[in-house]
Amino acid sequence: MTTVAPARSESTGDSLTAARSSLANAFFSRLTAGAASLILVTLAAVATFLLVRAWPAITSSSADLASKVDWLGTASSDTLIATIGYLVFGTLLIGTMALLIGAPISFGIALFISHYAPRRLAATLGYIVDLLAAVPSVIYGLWGGFVLIPKLAPFYGWLNREFGWFPLFAGEASPTGRVALSASIVLAIMILPIITAVTREVFLQTPVLHEEAALAMGATRWEMIRMAVFPFARSGMIGATMLGLGRALGETMAVYMILSPGLSYSFHVLEASSHNTIAANIALKFPEANATGVEALIAMGLALFVITLAVNVLARWVVSRRSEFSGAN
């Protein structure tokens, strides 16, 4: 009996702790589930808002829209759908160029911080990159407009004269420099921190054993990075790039302040008044828009929402496809 009593008391103590911990567990899991579902609820709410508010503009005839909204017409080039088409093109063009400029530089910075720089310099550089992310986009816009663009304009003229045969640099270069390429360059600077921060973390996760194995086989540092680090980090690099693209697609103020807007399907990125992005266009038109105009603008917002969603789905798909071949497993 004496042996049973402590056992029983021990078991009751156990069940008490178990009950308490299972309660805490349940509470915590509910809490995190709630937090997670909040994301879904927010997304659903935004999607519903966009659909409901844009619906009148989407369904009404172009003649009806043209009579109520100044900047829409009935000609095939200025209906709501055509306008959204131009803006989607401009958004993707400027976003993609920003990515092409920004991503390679970001990878370089991240690699330098993770594998080349002395420890102390790496830490300092990391802080500075994170600091860049904290600068508001208005500041980038102002800096771009007042400092960067006047410096770039003569360079654009040169690019246009010497490399005008290349389709992107063809056409008539703007003397003011308020063109799609300027917007892309400023956006590229704005997406540097996010891509750098994520890829740096991913590069640092590379198993040291892989790296040492590569070095032991006589690989140079660059070969080691190519053989051990990149395969391991590939999905992370793609993910980081997509995060950057997301920011570039949705960025408003910097583009609004830098770009001389226009609507066309032109690839001439040195020509002014040829491109605009959805977000900048909404910011531009919203202050003076009437009720129908706001609905049309929300329809544009819906288009951006769909694009961003598509980009993210595509990124997920690429990552999942690539992960099979990566060195991570």
Binding site: D70, T176, R178, M257, P261, P287, E288, N290, A291
Partner: protein
């Protein structure tokens, strides 16, 4: 007497006007109160919040008016939301604000809607300031140029593309015009400045093929967001030409426009002369609705018809007495000489002038309350 003593203590002509205004406006029965109505000592000082919204271009002037008006009437808070002319008119017609600041007149639809919001007597426009629109350019060594309306229209329509074009040179004997491409700069957002500028080109020039609109009508040149965007582009690039409110024209080269047989440089006085000599728009809501239809072809000596009149849109009859009294008192200050001077120093706008000021005051006095 209490009131008289207090005004004496504050010793300011502005305050006196305001208190007089406050008292006269609170006599709810009259439809047209004389400007010098005797204060009734029984009236309490003004209290409450006056809400308006509208043109962002009025924001600077409005800050000056609000500050002075609130100083003189400590119980009053004036709120102004600079959402834009269109947004302000919508808010006014929805009844969420008591007045709207607008660079453009109410459209026919909006006038119809105002009959619901304000009652059968509808809404009226009161001019609160005049802003000359300057045609500015950036050329080395050239500070002023003469241009006819046709020349300006051709430049802004992309028909004249070089600064040394004969059409420009013809009116500017002796000016050193470079062989440089003209870069036209216009607004990218919908704006009252654009609307007035294109209205001027439409009426005064024979070479402008577009109707006036707040959105820039052609694809010539480059665009900047808001006035500051246009200013930044003109500042940054040689050979640019743009149009901006005079208050923000800075130190750019200025175009003198041809009026009658002479060239007139932009000035507040010139703009005021042009407005004084303009008729009231057709379909205006009675004689107190000061909706000017600017005479762009004016040949009056010294007139500068390329100007923008900024309005406050008010109800002709406020059923809500407290809101109405505040509106009347506030607008009396706005159109007074002191209010106009405050706006001129704060926002660089042009005063509406004595003649238009007297008309505006009569209009404010015509507002019925209750």
């Amino acid at each position: 007497m209490k009131i008289a003593i207090r005004t004496g203590a504050l010793a300011s002509a502005t305050v006196l006007t305001l208190v007089l205004a406050a008292c006269s406006s609170s006599t709810t029965t009259t439809s047209s109160v004389a400007t010098s109505s005797t204060p009734t000592a029984t009236q309490a000082p003004l209290t409450g919040a006056l809400n308006g919204s509208g043109a962002s271009s009025q924001a600077a002037a409005m800050d000056a008016w609000r500050a002075a008006f609130q100083d003189a009437n400590p119980g009053v808070t004036v709120n102004y939301d600079p959402v834009g002319s269109g947004g302000g008119r919508t808010a006014f017609l929805d009844g969420t604000v008591s007045f709207a600041g607008s660079d453009a007149l109410l459209s026919a639809d909006e006038v119809t809607k105002s009959l619901t919001t304000c009652g059968p007597e509808g809404a009226i426009h009161i001019p609160v300031y005049i802003s000359p629109i300057d045609v500015v350019f950036n050329l080395d060594g050239v500070k002023s140029l003469n241009m006819t309306p046709d020349t300006i229209a051709s430049i802004f329509d992309g028909k004249i593309t070089k600064w040394n074009d004969p059409a420009i040179a013809a009116d500017n004997a002796g000016a050193k015009l470079p062989d440089l491409a003209i870069t036209v700069v216009h607004r990218s957002d919908n704006s009252g400045t654009t609307s007035n500028f294109t209205d001027y080109l439409e009426k005064a020039a024979t070479t402008w093929p577009y109707p006036h609109s707040g959105d820039w009508p052609n694809a010539v040149g480059e665009a900047g967001a808001k006035t500051s965007g246009v200013v930044a582009i003109v500042e940054g690039t040689k050979g640019t030409v743009g149009y901006v409110d005079a208050s923000q024209a800075g130190t750019f080269g200025l175009v003198s426009i041809k009026v009658g047989s002479s060239f007139v440089a932009p000035s507040p006085e010139g703009a005021a002369i042009a407005v004084e000599n303009s008729p009231i728009a057709e379909g205006a809501n009675g004689k107190f609705d000061l909706a000017f239809k600017l005479d762009r072809k004016s040949t009056v000596a010294g007139a500068y018809p390329l100007a923008l009149v900024s309005y406050h849109v008010l109800c002709a009859n406020y059923k809500d007495a407290s809101a109405g009294n505040l509106v009347v008192a506030f607008e009396k200050y706005v159109v007074s000489t002191e209010g106009q001077a405050a706006a001129a120093s704060a926002a660089g706008s042009a005063p509406i002038g004595d003649k238009v000021g007297a008309l505006a005051l009569a209009s404010v006095n015509s507002i019925k309350v209750g």
